[in-house]
Symmetry: C2
Subunit: 609 residues, 2 copies
């Protein structure tokens, strides 16, 4: 391997400048600061990748956590001969795979980035996969900006990478001193980064990020690490190589104008546009197979109530043998979410992620990109902690399964901070997501299996308390389905519920029936997509719908039902959590919030009066 | 001050045990580990508070970031004579102020906690207020659990507290080794915490958390700090004082049964239940007045389009003199959100919070509790990063104003990662929130003022690009209002829009009018609460509504409108972002997502055919 690193670095700079000027926007200066680092990484002899097969299981992985340096990202693959100059000039244009921030539309993108501070967690998932699951020698490299080191999510990834002894994970910190609107917290004081990185259990090395031999040596050293992640802390200059933008404030995210570009290129000097860097392919190793043992099937009997959160843990364990790529992550609450049932059966496929939800979700995304099927659990309330990571995962075609336990005020005494009351809203607003909210153990079992089968982002909402079994073990459940539990030709109203409130709806049915009033009761276990046909039929038959949900009034079941009926609407009376939640017994709180059987009965009667 | 610290610590343990057993749930073991620390803090002579006036501006502040130790929190105020034994026994009961996790229902609670890792940010806001705004000598103390140190948000607070040289902020880290489901990442290795804390610029001291003289000395030293925040890292035992639960796994969040309590109390020995600790009141200092200068009023002319994000910055600056408690925080994007306009005019009331959104929101909450009116800005997309902090702020009666810029696909070339497409959903699902989405500079000006006037959580969504001025400077806007921009007796449909899509709706109006088709156009600038009367009238008059929003289909304007019409519904056709967003020109993307004038025209015509 004798690549002309100087020439390639110059070519990469050239491409970064030309493509952004053509686009009229973008981040040339943030690209130039890391150009030498990336030239050294890709073409310095350490990096291994089969460029014909970007998804090769043993390729080294490269993630641009500082996603705004996308011009650099595309430029390095151009320098490797995989993007043409013509393609480079489509940067940021509609339908070009070369988007403003990297997305999977470009085939060498591992994961979409651009929300800062998330790349290291994704890389962690890939490194974890290499070390503990696929057992492959590939390494994962993450390019970080100095500004994004302010994000707590980075430090979550730092601590967890050290905890899991991920010597195959390499961070490259591009300390170019300047953020978007001025100097970063520490400027060019690299000793602070070194101290922090070391305190978090990583091996730090400080280098001149524009000195190619130092860069190449650092990557060689990084490849010797066995059980400590390695952070290359590089002193760089933003805009390096072009005097009038180099280390200057006010040039963040600005493309050069045509005349400025001409000046810049004159400074850069002659560029060999025919030069291409060679990258060695990886060993042809195959991923390790994971242990697979047949689990007994589970039968729930109607005699004994079971919490849906418990059924989640049981289901994971039962499905583990059929889905060998399934892995489980939990945020230090596995004895509450019942992910611990899986952990006990398959400890090698369970990862304790501690109380660091952001990193947990980023790690899950990384695992999912490496063909695993991660199930991620914590309290529904704490899913909000990772809302940005959930949001970003939709742009990486993630195949991640989320389970939020302890939904709603029905958790009782712990009070508002522990109550998931906005989780349906959070996950419904994710493009193409599936949102399930089962009411009993049987449907939970079946829906967890649907999640494992389905390719995409799924969310399962579980309940803290034991709830009665409603379904026979052979009942079928599917994405977009629902169940009509009570129905007659004389129904005066339809009650649509899911989870804990479905049991309230059934109680209301019994109470009303005693008074000769019949209602339809629908179990809307698939909150997204929603069973439009069944809801429309109910609207037509009964002319009035009551929704009941242990969730805030916005973004949940009522909104899903109203949307389903928007062509031929009927009145939809939404019962939901509207008063300030507090501690109390579950039944007191259902009453207080107006989502109990009593309120349903009142709403039906009011309609009839 | 000669409090009997040993006796008070024992009394606090007694109360923590008895109240949780009576409640039948709660966290006695997590309370016992920090009992000596809290006895030493409150009654050791350093802490200053006027117990008759918990909101006294110069009281020392105490925040239980480990909110699950609420039995301890209530016990210390009982030991101070401010909670009766009878009240203690209402712990976790419906309508008791002593909730499962502290909330403002209890008068000595500074802020609701219980979602771990958030307390230090809140304390930071209070300390920042003391040092830079009120200029008062009070100190802020935050009790932290060791498990929650895994949360990235804690390290955001650490770095920013050091950056702002908050020597008046004291962390108390209760290293009891055990988390919820087992040992923490570092167990009792306090040296790791010390290294990390020091690396983040704090002054660490390691003590035995059950040795009262060491504790008292540590707090005395802490009160000598001038410009470095101080972290007391205390080695403690979970369940300390009761042998069969002390330092034992499996006792997290479990109340003792009656017989276990009896055993525990025998071990504890005689308790002086008449003992009360004395706390000295603070100096009667008053908050400093902030500089207040009259700003010129702003007049927008119809000739020149202005971005609503720019109008936000201008409005803040104009209002600063009328609202002297207003402060502005931004997440390192003030030149994009235009918070920088305020920063330039009032640098002493602007705080750069760097790229650490979680801490920014927690800090804002702390400032708001100390009577400031914080305006917090970043890209709308990155508000999701702090979704859990936003969620928790609603339980602290927060008075925080959020501004998310760069909403929607109309930002263009930067691509999906930078597009706020779920922010309306996020903020609508906050109890009692106000959500504004102005379409021009004049309404932005007026709505920022409404936010400043209103007590509570408000969100303002702004647009990247320049948009035409629609309103005269004397037009009035209010919470729950809307504007009918086009209307006639012959309207065939109503188009409800806000922000960028309102301009598309107006274009659609013009195009349709040329063909002799009239529509009503409503500017729904107040997305929550929504103008039900105007929407109902439009539904009645036109029988058909089209909503158009640069936001995902769930949780935004369509849902708000359907909810408003749920009693007498008409068909609502929702145009929203439904295809995978990407880079491109704003107009290309509006077209691609089906939220442009063209799609509106088509939808109207389809309805009429």
């Amino acid at each position: 391997m004798n690549n002309d690193l100087e020439g390639l670095a110059k070519l990469i700079r050239y491409y970064s400048l030309v493509s952004t000027t053509e686009a009229g926007s973008g981040h040339p200066t943030s690209s130039l600061s890391a150009a030498d680092l990336m030239a050294g990484l890709l073409f310095g002899g350490t990096f291994r990748s089969d460029l014909e097969d970007p998804r090769h299981p043993n390729n080294d992985r490269l993630i641009f956590s500082k996603g705004h340096a996308s011009p650099l990202f595309y430029a390095i693959w151009a320098a490797a001969g995989k993007v043409t100059e013509k393609e480079l000039l489509t940067l940021r244009k509609f339908n070009s795979p070369l988007e403003g921030h990297p997305t999977p539309a470009f085939r060498y993108t591992e994961a979409a980035t651009g929300s800062l501070g998330q790349g290291l967690s994704i890389g962690l998932g890939m490194a974890m996969n290499a070390k503990y699951l696929d057992k492959l020698p590939y390494r994962t490299y993450v390019l970080l900006g100095d500004s994004e080191m302010a994000e707590g999510s980075v430090w979550e990834a730092m601590e967890i990478a050290a905890y899991y002894k991920l010597g195959n994970l390499v961070g490259i910190l591009d300390v170019n001193r300047l953020g978007q609107r001025g100097e970063t917290m520490y400027g060019h004081d690299l000793s602070i980064y070194k101290r922090k990185v070391a305190a978090f259990g990583w091996e730090p090395i400080v280098i001149d990020g524009h000195h190619l031999p130092q860069i190449v040596t650092a990557f060689e050293q990084a490849s010797q690490m066995s059980d400590r992640p390695y952070m290359i802390i590089a002193r760089t200059l933003k805009g390096k190589g072009v005097s009038f933008i180099e280390d200057k404030n006010g040039w963040h995210g600005k493309a050069l104008k045509k005349d400025e570009l001409a000046r810049a290129l004159r400074e850069l000097g002659p560029v060999d546009r025919g030069l291409r860097g060679r990258i060695e392919p990886p060993q042809g190793a195959k991923p390790a197979r994971v242990r697979s043992v047949m689990a007994a099937s589970v039968t729930y009997t109607t005699e004994k109530p079971v919490a849906t959160r418990h059924a989640y843990g049981t289901a994971l364990t039962r499905l583990a043998s059929q889905y060998p790529d399934m892995v489980v992550l939990d945020g230090e609450v596995s004895n509450s979410t019942y992910a611990e049932i899986f952990k006990k059966a398959y400890p090698e496929r369970f990862f304790e992620m501690f109380i660091a939800e952001q990193n947990m979700v980023g790690t899950a995304l990384g695992l999912s990109i490496r063909s695993k099927v991660p199930f991620v659990s914590t309290f529904a309330a704490f899913m909000t902690r990772a809302a940005d990571q959930v949001r970003m995962s939709q742009y990486s075609n993630a195949n991640v399964k989320f389970c939020g336990s302890h939904a709603g005020v029905s958790i009782g005494e712990d009070g508002s901070s522990q109550m998931g009351l906005e989780d349906l809203s959070l996950f419904r607003a994710i493009l193409g997501s599936v949102v399930f909210y089962p009411s009993d153990a049987v449907s939970t079992e079946k829906l967890v299996e649907e999640m494992a089968k389905h390719q995409g982002i799924c969310y399962l909402r579980t309940t803290r308390m034991d709830t009665p079994i409603l379904y026979r073990s052979d009942e079928a459940f599917w994405i977009g389905g629902s169940k009509i539990l009570r129905s007659s030709k004389k129904d005066k109203a339809t009650v649509v519920a899911a989870g804990i409130t479905l049991h309230e709806a059934l109680k209301a049915y019994d109470a009303l029936r005693k008074e000769g009033i019949l209602i339809r009761v629908i179990d809307l276990y698939s909150v997204k997509p929603v069973d439009v046909a069944t809801l429309r039929q109910a609207a037509e038959d009964t002319g009035f719908i009551i929704t009941v949900e242990d969730h805030y009034a916005e973004g949940g079941i009522a909104d899903a039902v109203r949307t389903a009926l928007s062509k031929d609407p009927v009145p939809v009376h939404g019962l939901a959590v509207r008063a300030m939640p507090k501690s109390g017994k579950p039944e007191e709180l259902l009453e207080y919030e107006g989502i109990s059987a009593k309120t349903i009965v009142e709403a039906v009667k009011q309609r009839m009066s």
